[in-house]
Point group: C2
Chain length 425, copies 2
């Protein structure tokens, strides 16, 4: 008998109707002869409502209590889902993260899973139950306090449980039909990907694709758990993410040269102008940034002008950290002796991802030509073995993504992409 872990996001269980629809889908999986473990997020807007309540009683809620508050959300959705399944005549039991054995560190609001001891879940499914587990939450190893896992936490719960239970597949149900070759809201002719490797999915996730978060894919890769991303609305087969294209249920597919085009408009660009081109100056700058707990993404340093001995260093980072980094750098201006800072949050990052580019030397040239033909100017370039990213004006992002998508033959014959709802956590 196969063991399947399914995860449903908040938009799939936004109301009683949604919960009943999801219950039917779960029961189908059970009827097909599988053992079924379900991870569920909080209903639709519940989390936002709880955050709003917290803001009303305290401007700076403590992490421990904030986690206690937020975890009420999954408690509601999972209990209702178990009731709905029982109402269809199948045995079901709900479990909190703590009961399910999701052990985390003590970093409230963004805890990391350090162990999963799913004894109660194993017993429950062996007794014939469908086990419903609260996503997004765990219990801290040292203090036994309730923790939450932060963004993408429910997906991570699902993959971690699938790994601990040695499940055959982890199905992530969402409001789109799978992973697409580009964001369907930007590229109408984006195509659903049938299979994608963990590596390519990791690059897409870190380049702005929002279907799966990097953290969850990384976890799945480490434990080799195939992920099947699919829609809870349409029920169509979605995208398999795994090591090998012949994963369970997936058609045999060739590795594509290019998996997809991702874009990201959440970053800003900082340029440090006129940095003395001598050893240690760049180090001072990046040490300052690191000490401020700011994550930066692309870094580019120009060749210094021979006449002045000065160079410019540019990097990108989340817009939300913009203020912080400017303040920090202004403070070290006297010791580093750079000329000025430029801050620009009207940028977009466009990334082409595909393991095939390793063995296809023309990819970079074709990418730049496509952008040039579309009249899009490139401001920064950064590459990895299986990814090329460029920074352009934010206004150009739609045009640029569509041009690249077409140039690499990714367009589908039809406008097949559908977006069904909002996004859960």
């Amino acid at each position: 008998m196969s063991l399947v872990v399914q995860k449903y996001g908040g938009s799939s269980v936004a109301d009683a109707e949604g919960i009943k629809r999801v219950a039917k889908r779960i029961v189908e999986a059970k009827k097909n002869g599988n053992q079924v473990v379900v991870v569920v997020s909080a209903m639709g807007d519940t989390t936002d409502e709880l955050i709003d309540l917290a803001a009303q009683v305290s401007p700076m809620p403590a992490g421990r209590e904030f986690d206690m508050l937020l975890t009420a959300g999954e408690r509601i959705s999972m209990a209702l889902l178990a009731m709905a399944i029982k109402n269809l005549g199948h045995a079901a039991q709900s479990f909190t993260g703590s009961q399910a054995g999701v052990i985390t560190d003590s970093v409230h609001t963004k805890a990391r899973i350090i162990d999963v001891t799913p004894g109660r879940i194993r017993t429950s499914v062996d007794e014939g139950n469908i086990a419903i587990v609260a996503g997004f939450q765990g219990v801290s190893q040292d203090k036994k306090d309730i923790t939450t896992l932060g963004r993408g936490g429910s997906d991570t719960t699902a993959v971690a449980l699938a790994a601990a239970l040695e499940a055959d597949v982890c199905e992530i149900y969402t409001d789109v039909d799978g992973v697409f070759t580009a964001d369907p809201r930007v590229v109408k002719k984006a195509r659903k990907i049938d299979w994608i490797s963990f590596e390519d999915m990791l690059e897409l996730a870190s380049s702005g694709s929002k279907v799966l978060l990097h953290r969850c894919v990384e976890y799945a890769r480490r434990y080799n758990i195939p992920i099947h991303v699919r829609s809870s609305f349409s029920g169509l087969p979605g995208t398999w993410v795994s090591n090998e294209p012949h994963a369970q249920g997936a058609q045999k597919v060739e590795q594509a040269i290019i998996s997809g085009v991702a874009h990201d408009t959440s970053e800003a660009k900082v340029t440090v102008v006129g940095v003395p081109d001598k050893p240690g100056e760049a180090a001072k700058i990046f040490r300052t940034i690191a000490d401020g707990q700011i994550n930066i993404d692309m870094i580019v340093q120009n060749v210094s002008a021979a006449s002045t001995g000065l160079t410019d260093i540019s990097f990108t980072l989340p817009k939300t950290d913009g203020r912080k980094v400017i303040d920090a750098l202004e403070k070290i201006k006297p010791t580093v002796g750079f000329e000025s800072l430029r801050y620009d949050d009207q940028i977009a990052k466009i990334s082409l991802v595909g393991a095939g580019m390793k063995t296809n030397p023309g990819v970079t040239a074709a990418f730049f030509e496509a952008l040039s033909d579309a009249g899009v100017n490139i401001e920064l370039i950064s590459t990895s073995e299986i990814r090329i990213s460029v920074v352009t004006r934010a206004d150009d992002v739609g045009e640029a993504v569509r041009a690249v998508h077409t140039a690499f033959g990714l367009d589908s014959e039809t406008d097949e992409a559908v977006v069904y709802g909002g996004t859960g956590r």
Copy 2:
């Protein structure tokens, strides 16, 4: 240092403002040099909203999942309360019933507390925190499932924790100023009782007084925990319920002859007419009722008429069980051979309670005279050592209660009773 357990009901924490007001009151107790443990119910209508959601997904929600669902309510209120207290600059930690060591049996939706192991709470308060505990919930001893305690569960949680922590007092905050000599909504001149014995309070509670439930008073009596019932709105001293009138903080008060007049309009009267007056017939009737898990209250059997050898048996029971008992009795009609059944849900029970009546022989006569003078007819009578109860027409209840209240000198000089809000759980 004293240890105080405080309990706040749902109407006291109905919204963010209520939570902030309660937080201030808690901090005051802490500032006065006490260790403070707080038990809190779900916010205002939360429980009703959750019950409504459950009804939308399943007509008969399973108890285990229903309890999982409902306990989300206290999770929200306790986390918010802890945040609000921290916002006032005091350390606070919230704990679920399970974390607080409230161990119950496995009877979902009306579990009984079988043990309290408050190690985490003790540690938390010893470290200087105000500990906030979810009322109404626990964890089952055998299966480690989340349970709820049913009606009055939060009061019981508070008393049970007070007992396990050997607290000096258990303060029950509610939406009235204390226990009154009669329901203030019926008797404007009802007087707040400064002190009442456990015994009298138990009789009042089982006679229709809703301020404290029987179960909670019984627990407090068993462990000799003084209860102080008071308003979370006015902050005035309320009613002390304890063994001795010189309990902490209470003025030295004389034991009153009569503690109060309670009434109850939630019961119906069933009369089994024409029961053969021979051994075993009544037993058959009450065995049938007991097998149906129906709790009955007063039972009265008339002397049988010598001419017929038949007698009538009347009893009262909750209206909600009316249908069930009639169906059960109709089934045994052929074997018992009674003539007919009468069902009457237009009745009221009026009870006079006071340990003093043991040594004051005129009380019964004065009670009946007061009712007679008010033109109220008595349909059934039942007595205990410290209580006299009668059944009257429901329409007469206000008149009857006021007449008896006045006759026993319980009226205050002024209309002092105030009702501030709704009722929590």
